[in-house]
């Protein structure tokens, strides 16, 4: 009899763990940061590390006076509106003409059973109109994605994880990638951006994961250039000495799915400027 009870208890415990829904994760995520930075309002996290570093915030404001991403924005708008050889434009591929929709990305596409991101669909749009796809980490795609993000400024992230088991799995896989230690330094994303957010790594303050994706694509002084979120995933992987996974590969798209869901409801403020 006793043995039966322990088995039942064990099953319940394991089930309990597996039952933590994405929404439970997100609430726990926010509670973590409320405890870690009691006087930082949740909506401020859209400013990344500048929400927890007063001095850096001032310097950032100086840059935002006329942010370097504005050049890419102008270029992105022009690219977005320039018709393909067949006369169609990006507007024809995206809902609402591609304007003011960034807050719905990434989403789970039941047809393809895949997580779709804006950059992936920009290239899908190009290929379906007979154009060569762009590279995913920088260049024209970052400019177009920057313009699409800009048209959504102020919209609240609206990431949906449907009951479809494939979507739940994609979310879980992204979560696993976020929390698993990797690379020769054996760090996970969480080690830096959750459990050590606000701490210094040499001269850099680790930014919190809450609000992380809202400002992408990003112009970084270090690159002197725009870059997409997957270019940043690449950078972090290299820094823990893990071999980066393919940009817009399934792993990074699932990672983006999980990470963006953690900031659900927060305001889009891309493109951003960072160091």
């Amino acid at each position: 009899m006793k043995r039966l009870v322990t088995i039942l208890l064990g099953a319940a415990l394991v089930a309990g763990l597996a039952w933590a829904t994405p929404e439970d994760d997100r609430k726990a995520f926010i509670e973590h940061y409320k405890k870690r930075f009691p006087d930082v309002a949740v909506e401020d996290y859209v400013n990344g590390v500048y929400s927890i570093d007063e001095e850096a915030y001032e310097q950032w404001q100086e840059i935002e006076e006329f942010a370097p991403y504005e050049l890419a924005l102008a270029e992105g708008k022009e690219l977005f509106e320039t018709p393909f050889a067949n006369g169609k434009t990006y507007g024809d591929c995206f809902p609402s003409g591609g304007v003011g929709i960034r807050q719905n990305y990434p989403y789970f596409d039941t047809e393809s059973g895949q997580v779709k991101t804006i950059e992936l669909e920009i290239n899908e749009c190009r290929e379906s109109n007979g154009e060569k796809p762009y590279k995913y980490k920088k260049g024209p795609i970052a400019a177009i994605s920057a313009y699409m993000a800009y048209t959504s400024r102020g919209e609240k992230l609206n990431i949906v994880i449907p009951g479809d088991p494939r979507a739940q799995q994609a979310y879980e896989d992204g979560k696993e990638l976020y929390y698993s230690k990797r690379g020769q330094l054996n760090f996970s994303c969480a080690d830096c951006h959750i459990y050590n957010a606000g701490m210094m790594v040499r001269a850099d303050k680790l930014s919190p994961a809450l609000g992380h994706p809202t400002h992408f694509p990003v112009y970084r002084s270090k690159w002197d250039d725009m870059g997409t979120l997957h270019r940043r995933f690449d950078g972090c992987n290299k820094q823990v000495r893990a071999k980066p996974l393919p940009a817009q590969g399934e792993e990074y798209r699932n990672l983006e799915y999980f990470l963006t869901y953690m900031s659900n409801g927060m305001e889009v403020n891309g493109p951003g400027a960072r160091k």
């Binding site: 763990l17 933590a20 994760d25 726990a28 995520f29 973590h32 979560k175 696993e176 990638l177 929390y179 698993s180 230690k181 990797r182 690379g183 020769q184 054996n186 996970s188 969480a190 959750i194 992987n237 290299k238 000495r241 893990a242 071999k243 980066p244 996974l245 792993e251």
Partner: protein
């Protein structure tokens, strides 16, 4: 005079003999690097490859190209060991990651 030549001859032989024992020959180099590639592929399969492994294997092939097979073996052995650690990392993380999730 004869003595000197004798000594010279012996020392040349010694060097040759020592060289062959110490310096791995090409088959040993090829074997070591095949094993390293095998381990690297498995780590990549698990999505846990480190970015330190390929550079080691590249240096190994450069050393071998310059005829230094011993160095080639040493570098490929190091590469293989690193991949083996990353495979162990992958196996461990397969369930360890859940404990890290913010609850």
């Amino acid at each position: 005079m004869r003595k000197n030549r004798l000594i010279a001859g012996v020392s040349v032989l010694a060097v040759l003999w020592a060289g062959s024992v110490l310096a791995a020959d090409e088959p040993a180099y090829t074997k070591a690097c095949a094993a390293a590639e095998e381990a690297r592929k498995m780590a990549a399969e698990l999505r846990y490859e480190w970015n330190t492994v390929e550079p080691l294997m590249k240096k190994a092939s450069e050393a071998a190209a310059a005829g230094d097979y011993a160095k080639g073996v040493k570098l490929c052995d190091e590469a293989r060991k690193q991949s083996e650690v990353s495979i162990a990392q992958a196996k461990h993380q397969a369930d360890a990651w859940r404990a890290a999730v913010v609850k």
